[in-house]
Structure formats: C-alpha cells, structure tokens
Symmetry: C2
Subunit: 338 residues, 2 copies
DNA sequence: TTGTACGCGTTATCAA
DNA sequence: TTGATAACGCGTACAA
C-alpha cells in the first residue's frame, strides 16, 4: 500500500508538517532530523501524491502545451513535433512535466484558459496555434506565463526560426553560383513564416538589384507535394523564361516542383537549381538530394523552455518579445556546384 | 474568481453534495432541482477542479501512455505517432485525457507503476515499449488496466498490425506477377514485427514450394536508409542470381535498397521489383513510387482505445490477448505491372 | 429527496 | 525547531 505523509510522520515520530517542510525544503529544520527524515524518505520511496499536493499548494509543476487547433493532425508534424520533443526534454530536466491542453474536461467544453486554471498549469507553450483563435488570445493575455515557438502575436514572447536569414542565405547562394534569375515558391500565406519569407525575398531581391516582378513569386494553394507539383508544371511552361534558381519555402513543395520539372524534361540541377526549406529527414534521400535551409528545432525548443521556466520563476509584464534562432543552408545535389 | 461547488450550492440554496450528485449523475434527485442546477451550472460554466476531484474520488479520467523508452526520440515516429493520435482522438470522445508517463515526478525518480499510482491513472496504453523493461513489466502485471499497440508480452492485451498477412500479400503479389525468385530484407530482429515477418516469409515460401535458403533473407544492421543502401549493394553483387522480387520490411530500408540497386545499374521495377512495408507518407513520392504494405494505424489506435476503455469499465483478469488489424497492399510503381 | 459530516493527502499558518 | 490545525475542493456514506 502507498505510504502517505502521515504514515511517514508516524513512523518517525514527527508531525506531517515537519516532513512536508523537509521534503519541500521550506522552513527551518535541525540538520539531524532533516537527515533522518531524508534518509527514511529515500529508503521508503515516499513521494507526495501529486493531486493532493497541487490542491494544497499553488504550483502543479506542469506546463500546458497548445499544440494544434486541428487536433486530428498533430504529433507527426516533422517540424513542430521536433520542437516539442526538445522542449519536453529540457523542462523535464527541471522537474516539470508537459500536458497537452485540450478544450474538454470530462464531458465539459472549456476554453483553454479555463482548462489551464482548472489544472493549475504553471505555464503554457504555444506551438502551431492560429493567432486568431480567441481561445489562444485569452490565454496569452491572462496572467499565466506563456511562450511560443513559431507563433508571433501581441503580448506574446516568441522563439522563432530566423526566416529572413533563410531566404538571404538562399539568394546569396544563388549569387555565389552566378545566378540572377531567381524565383520563389511559397506555401499558402496563412502561415506567418511564409509571409516573412515572401517579404524578405522581395526586399532582398530588390536590395541586390535583381529582377523582381509579378512572376517572381508563385504561391501554392496548399502545403503538400501535389500542390508543389502543380507549381512545378507552371514553371516548366515558361519555356522561354526559365529561372536559374528556385527558392521553395518548404521541402515537401520542393519535392513536387522538382518532379514536375523533370516530367517536362527540365533537369535539376543541370537546367535549374532548387533550394528547399526545413531540411526534413527525407531531403537527403530525395533524388536529387535537396539543398535546403535547415531549421534548428532543437535550439528553438530548448530556448523556449528556458524562457518559459524563467518567466514562471520571475513573472514579468507581458509584452511582445521575439527571439530568432539562426538557420543554416545545407548544400546537396539539387543546386549546381560552384 | 473561480467558482467552487460550495459557491454554486450557496447561490442555489442547496448543499454541495446535492450539486455533486447532479453533476456526476449519482444518487436520486428530483427532476426539478436537477434541471435547475444543471441550468445554473451550464450558465455559470462551473467545472469541478480536477485535482480536488481526483483526490476525493478514485478516478482521474486520465490514461497514461508509455510511448518510448528512449525519450529523446519520440513524437515524430511515422508509425507510432499515428497510432497515438488515433488513440487520443478516440478516448477524448469519451471524456478521457492522455498523459505521457515518465519516470520522474518533480525531483524524484519513480518507476512507471509508482508514477501511475501517484497520478491515479485509470489505464495505460503501451506503444513502443521494450518488453524486457522491468518498469513496463511491472505495470503490465499490476492491477491497472493495460492495452498495447504493437507490443506483445505475457498478460498483456495487444492490438497489432497483422504482420503475417502483410508478408503473404507480398508473396502472393509476386506470384501473381509470375515471379518465383523472391527474397526478403528485414530490419534488426530486435523488433517483434520483423521477427514475425521473417517467420511468415520462411513458412509461406516453403508452403508455396518456392526456393528458400540462406540467401533468401538479408538482415539489415540498422533501421535507416543507409543500412538499406548497404543491403541493396549486397544484392546487386549477386549478378548471376538476382531476385525478381524483393520484399523489404520497411519503406525506409526499401528506399535505400532501390537506390543502391539503381546505382549498380539494376532498374526497378524493370529488372527487379520491390515491395516496401509501412506506407509512410513519402512512399508515394519516391522514385519510383513504392508498392508497399499499408498498416492501418487509425484502426489500431481506435481499437486499442475501445478495448482499454472497456477494460477500465469492466476490469478483467489479465492474460495475453492479441488482436490483429488487417493490412493492405498498395500497388505503385516499384513493382512490375501484370 | 436533500443535507451533514468526514475523508482524500498535502501545505501553510501560527502557536508552542 | 517542531507541532497542531485549518484550509484546498470535492465525493460519499449516512442521517434527516
């Protein structure tokens, strides 16, 4: 049978409160009893029952994670699941535990904030959230410390991948290869990251005095391979005006683009070079292996963890803070060699 | 400020226990008060604080998930994360919530079972567990209802993909294509599924009077693409005795095998056909797109959920039960057409 | 049908 | 330095 704090107290001829103080390192206790208790606790393997603990104290040692609005997809997302994993590893080091925030509790529909208060979560990590979701906005503007990865909105402290840097690396790489006819392929602009990449692309192209017009960017209508394929066909049809370099804002789209080009007899990288974005596992196994922008999911997750933990310890006034994590260009075989 | 059950009781001039009975549908209550209370609860959005609830009752409406021994990998696994997602969707319908079981609580190291008891989880789902992990064995043999996906061990109720069926489908497909020289490529035999596929392959080959000898199976030393590539090179070297069909027990290995064959000038599917296993996202985008055995992760997850929920409601004596989920063969372009 | 009283296991406050 | 006592919020016998 499980020992309670009362059992432990009895067996040591002490009061429960004394045990509690020692276990939680609070209050003044004589070194002797402290040691005696600690030793006993160690041996008997006593651990406070967390529900009782949470009920009585304020803290739950728990961090809520808003992972996805569309709960039907989720864990398998190559980018976000990595961030989450890294975040998890980091916070667990410090004794916290993560729980997935959902919008129901038993048979009740709750807002995210209600759920958080009900569970007394100490902080919230937001990944893959729609910034217009009132549920999320409510949490962000509450008193609960929040940090996000990849989501930027008012009053929110965010850790994001440096999207501008990725695009600049891409264009610079093209320039290094003496290419000047560069176009971009973006996913749907509902995602902030695609917006940023678009903007940077335009600005940097202009900045570098490269040709930029309405044909310089193509926006895919979806995120998947097939959508990329359709874009690739469009590009292939510009027979008299093929680009030398295509910057595609996601690897999966890039895969589609490449296949479509090849289907039309345009060789990659001989006729045109392609750079992807994300460096998903498969990028290195594609044919041709994909030159791409690698995002440092591990750093994003662990910095998010650090910052959230800090905010929990020392609550600060909420305001928008954005920290950028550098990306790197991984050169493979979808781009010409120098 | 958050309302408690006492607040609600006061405002309705009733006793807290009355409210509790109504909310939890227990005890006899007059229709009038029931309705009155329900209405008020609805409007005020009262929801019992879960920690207090769990502390007081036995149930936590929570299902623990043992997801991985190596916590450093995890969410992104294409096969298991899908099962988990499906499981999660299913149990959430019925008011349960999933939590990831870890082996620490605050600053204490706990066994899985201790953790479960501490949190009062109502049941446990095991995915990706090492069957020799004493931690897991302890949970399985405890009084807590358990169900596993893809893990088989004594006293455990398991839902698994029908591995034998996958192999039989593969061999039958080869036969349909009039191929008789069939070999198999397996991943490391540390995984039960690979073992089963191996055994089935041998038995069914013999059963069909097909040639089976020490060259009929090659076991890759790892799970990844590179490992598959090495196996592919080995196969390619058997110039005078190439197989007509290669059954590879994982898509990722198959990708490697195919590339290695091609590198040696052996064309797929013209010279040799390849069937993969798993039907991961990328299988359809590979070149050539991969004929493969599709595992029904959704069915596995949701059946696991059903069975676990049932076991929680009506605890049954623990014994080994294994239920199989059918697989299907998806025909693509890595195999000859008929 | 409703209400009273106690227990769940812990922490915090205050007194000794 | 230690202990008694009262919350924390809820469920549940049992009494009314």
């Amino acid at each position: 049978m499980k020992k309670t704090i009362v059992d432990v107290a009895k067996e040591l001829n002490l009061a429960p409160s004394t045990i509690s103080k020692i276990v939680n390192n609070t209050g003044r206790i004589s070194p002797e009893t402290r040691e005696r208790v600690l030793k006993y606790v160690q041996e008997s393997g006593y651990v406070a029952m967390s529900n009782a603990r949470i009920l009585s104290a304020k803290k739950s040692w728990t961090i809520g994670v808003i992972y996805s609005d569309i709960s039907l997809i989720g864990f398998e997302h190559p980018f976000f699941s990595r961030i989450l994993q890294s975040f998890k590893n980091h916070v667990e080091q410090t004794g916290y535990e993560i729980v997935l925030i959902v919008s129901r509790l038993g048979n009740n529909e709750l807002t995210y904030l209600e759920w958080c208060r009900n569970k007394k979560v100490d902080g919230v990590l937001i990944v893959m959230g729609n910034i217009n979701n009132p549920n999320i906005i409510e949490v962000v503007n509450s008193t609960i410390p929040c940090v996000s990865a990849d989501v930027v909105m008012p009053n929110l402290h965010s850790i994001i991948s440096n999207d501008a840097m990725g695009i600049i690396l891409g264009i610079d790489h093209a320039l290094k290869l003496k290419m000047k006819k560069i176009i971009a392929v973006s996913g749907p602009l509902t995602a902030r990251s695609f917006m940023t990449r678009m903007d940077t692309f335009r600005n940097y192209m202009v900045h570098k005095n490269l040709e930029y017009n309405e044909n310089s960017v193509i926006i895919a209508d979806e995120f998947g391979y097939e959508s990329g394929y359709r874009v690739g066909e469009m590009i292939a049809n510009r027979v008299d005006n093929l680009p030398e370099m295509i910057l595609v804002f996601s690897d999966v789209l890039a895969f589609g683009v490449i296949r479509a080009l090849e289907a039309k007899g345009i060789r990659v990288p001989d006729d045109v070079s392609v750079i992807g974005y994300d460096d998903i596992d498969f990028a290195k196994h594609y044919t041709p292996s994909l030159t791409t922008i690698h995002q440092d999911t591990k750093a994003i997750g662990s910095l998010a963890a650090q910052e959230l933990l800090a905010a929990i310890e020392h609550p600060i006034e909420k305001r928008q803070i954005v920290k950028y994590i550098p990306v790197t260009l991984i050169e493979r075989n979808s781009t010409k060699k120098i």
